[in-house]
Symmetry: C2
Subunit: 454 residues, 2 copies
């Protein structure tokens, strides 16, 4: 059976297997899911054992890494495929149409936490490896696989491992599917990502919650203080006000701006996906530039006081916030983290104390020229899988590992993503288009096969 | 046995009975506690049956009212005693030293939700009625009692009842113990209260939670919008910026300001109770004026986005706030509610929709001259109970029923409160001083006895 026939005739098996994988609630940020995360790692390892001679589940301080390799022909190139088997928390649960960890097909999509970010996309590669191995008897090139379980929480164990295992991970290219397509029917190769710093803080005013009648009018309210603080983070043009924040931002070339703004993409569709009454972004930049090429300051969570039913007349003792900065070349995550913390501490009034400020994770941005022949191979493979010409795009999300591998090995990083912007990665009703899932398997298998002949 | 001896010799019985009462988690705002609230009403009714010939538990749309009367001597005055048997929610539970609904004695205090607000203070009167009835064979004056179960949620059923039962409630004076003493060892009669409007709102931006990488930089963030909104509610002098907010605020007389600022009260003690690094209040007014005589705008709860462990890179679809305005004479709650809603709706940018704005409750402020002989009787009774001269104070909290009764019957409202400012009404570790509880029983019993001879 040839490769295409194998893939076509195994659609049901692949989909059933993906559903098994998705059912495991591998939420890396929650202590209560630690055993599930471990189970997901074992599931990946077992699957890899079908196509790889060497497979390890590597324990770490937090969640295990899965590593596999098939190095059987020194005359062929070696690629490192990277992905993650951990997922975002499913909350708020009540907004899911079908339960977050019950894979459900609806309208040509598969709904489940992790379906598009990133277990579904990892499985595209696992299915492609299987198809290549079954039809060729071996993989067409040398392949290393590294699947981590901490992508959604900062990848600390991954970096620790990478630091001590550089020779083991060396390859001629890095391959990742954790990004998206520009739109339905537009297969895409991503050549730029934003970096991400994530912060959390707690401020304390009164020693304990106070009665707003007895004390109101003479005491600081930590919620009001947080509001006044975060109201200062953007100016009227939606520039971030952190001093020095834009100092290292590399200007976009005219050619790149022109290319990005000419992509087959409609603001109307973006606006529809977002669903807000109006959009809101940095003045002087197009939407594509705002989300792919400009840094941001974003509140991800903020809370304090009474959040229950009815009324409680309380002045809260404390208030909390979680927030993040997306970074673009050539911003330095360490420098930005220092600037943000300093600015925020300086802005706080002396009526409250900053009782906690933590930078939970830091990650560098990445952008690379797409001139290497592997990029062309990726474009051809995508055209094969989808029957449409692939475009080159940047993306607003963050995969710090890509930057890290690029900086370490100076090799091309091929980001072939199969998600769509409205597929709710990180939100309720996350899903993947079944057409893109099956097209992805075809494209990826062809890509690996093609590299064997480049 | 005379009255004083009876009270002294029944300290243990009274305290044991109060603990029974406090154990019932009569949280009026929570649907899950509906049966407990009903149980608390029955408990009060049963206790009243010992001293009153007529006792009713009156069903309402929400929580029952308890009414009792003993009208046995037309030559004596009639007082209406009002209190409430419902309590605030106990959350956050983890901040209680002993469980919120297990009455616990520590350092001369009794800790429990409701101990000071208001079940403990209601029980002071129930114990006083019992002592008077047991030692005199009957109450020394005519007494009506009305104890409600919705004080912490806006008293809607109470007002409904009052509207239809004015003759039933008519009395020569209203007596309430739901306020505080100026400080330890300073028994106090309160002659002014602030009013309270309570609001909640929801704003919606994106149609659902969005990935802050894929979308961040081009979409409105409801949390940021709420921050920007509430940062505008105060100017740099901490004046509330709602247009017209101060239009109807009656100026304080020089004499009253002088009297209030001469009370035996220390800013140092207030600051210690609050425990914040610095205080914060409206410029041009003393702390006493800020919390008793000036209106406020206060955030009571605000939330949105991810509030769990670790990181989630989300732009939330919605954000929520609960907030309140404390009102002073002659502000009109209806007018203020309209001004606040209009101002907030006008301030919201067109990037979000205000998907909910509710005024949960409205309550008028109250202030009255303390010239009636009953005020002098209260002062004498407090001196009897505490061995110290009582002072006349205002208070920052709200008891809308007082205003209502005052407006309806034009009779003196005698507010003898036995709470202390640091007893955490509405907060974890709520407690009442046992000295004030026992002193209160003595004072209140003497007050009712004295009114029989005025």
């Amino acid at each position: 059976m040839n490769l295409t026939d194998y893939i076509e005739s195994h659609r049901n098996e692949h989909l059933a297997e993906l559903k098994q994988f998705l059912k495991i609630p591998s939420v890396s940020t929650k202590a209560e899911n630690k055993a599930d995360v471990e189970r997901a790692a074992q599931w990946v390892a077992n699957k890899l054992r079908g196509s790889f001679s060497h497979v390890e589940v590597i324990p770490t301080k937090m969640h295990p890494l899965v590593y596999a390799e098939s190095l059987h022909d020194a005359s062929k190139p070696t690629v490192l495929f990277y992905g993650h088997y951990d997922v975002q928390p499913p909350e708020p649960l009540e907004l899911w149409t079908s339960p977050a960890f019950e894979p459900t097909e609806r309208n040509g999509n598969l709904y489940c936490r992790g379906s598009v970010d990133d277990k579904g996309q990892v499985h595209i590669h696992l299915a492609a490896f299987e198809a290549l191995h079954k039809t060729l008897g071996k993989l067409p090139i040398n392949v290393k696989v590294l699947i981590e379980g901490e992508e959604e929480v900062g990848s600390e164990s991954l970096y620790e491992f990478v630091k001590g295992n550089k020779p083991k991970l060396k390859a001629d290219a890095l391959v990742v599917s954790d990004t998206g397509m520009l739109g339905p029917g537009v297969p895409s190769v991503t050549y730029g990502l934003r970096g991400l710093n994530y912060y959390q803080m707690e401020i304390s005013g009164p020693a304990q919650d106070l009665h707003s009648g007895v004390f109101g009018g003479a005491v600081p309210n930590p919620l009001t203080v947080l509001c006044e603080l975060f109201a200062k983070m953007h100016d009227k043009n939606f520039h971030v006000t952190v001093p020095g924040f834009y100092d290292d931002v590399a200007a976009l070339s005219k050619a790149e701006r022109k290319a990005l703004n000419s992509l087959p993409w409609k603001a109307k569709d973006f606006k529809k996906t977002v669903g807000a009454p109006e959009l809101c972004g940095e003045k002087g930049f197009s939407i594509v530039e705002q989300v792919w090429c400009r840094p941001t300051f974003e509140l991800n969570g903020l809370w304090g006081g009474y959040m229950g039913e009815g009324a409680k007349t309380v002045i809260p003792a404390k208030a909390w916030a979680k927030f993040s900065t997306r970074l673009v070349p050539d911003q330095d995550p360490d420098r930005i983290a220092k600037q943000v913390e300093k600015y925020i501490r300086n802005l706080l009034p002396n009526t409250v104390e900053c009782t906690m400020f933590e930078t939970l994770s830091k990650g560098k941005p990445w952008v690379a020229p797409f001139t290497h022949p592997y990029f062309k191979a990726a474009q051809r493979a995508l055209e094969h899988g989808f029957g449409k010409k692939a475009v080159f795009i940047r993306e607003g999300g963050s995969i710090p590992f890509v930057t890290d591998m690029h900086d370490t090995f100076k090799v091309p990083c091929i980001l072939m993503g199969f998600g769509l912007p409205d597929e709710n990665a990180h939100a309720p009703d996350e899903h993947i288009s079944l057409e893109n899932y099956f097209g992805g398997i075809k494209a990826v298998a062809n890509f690996y096969q093609d590299l064997g002949t480049v």
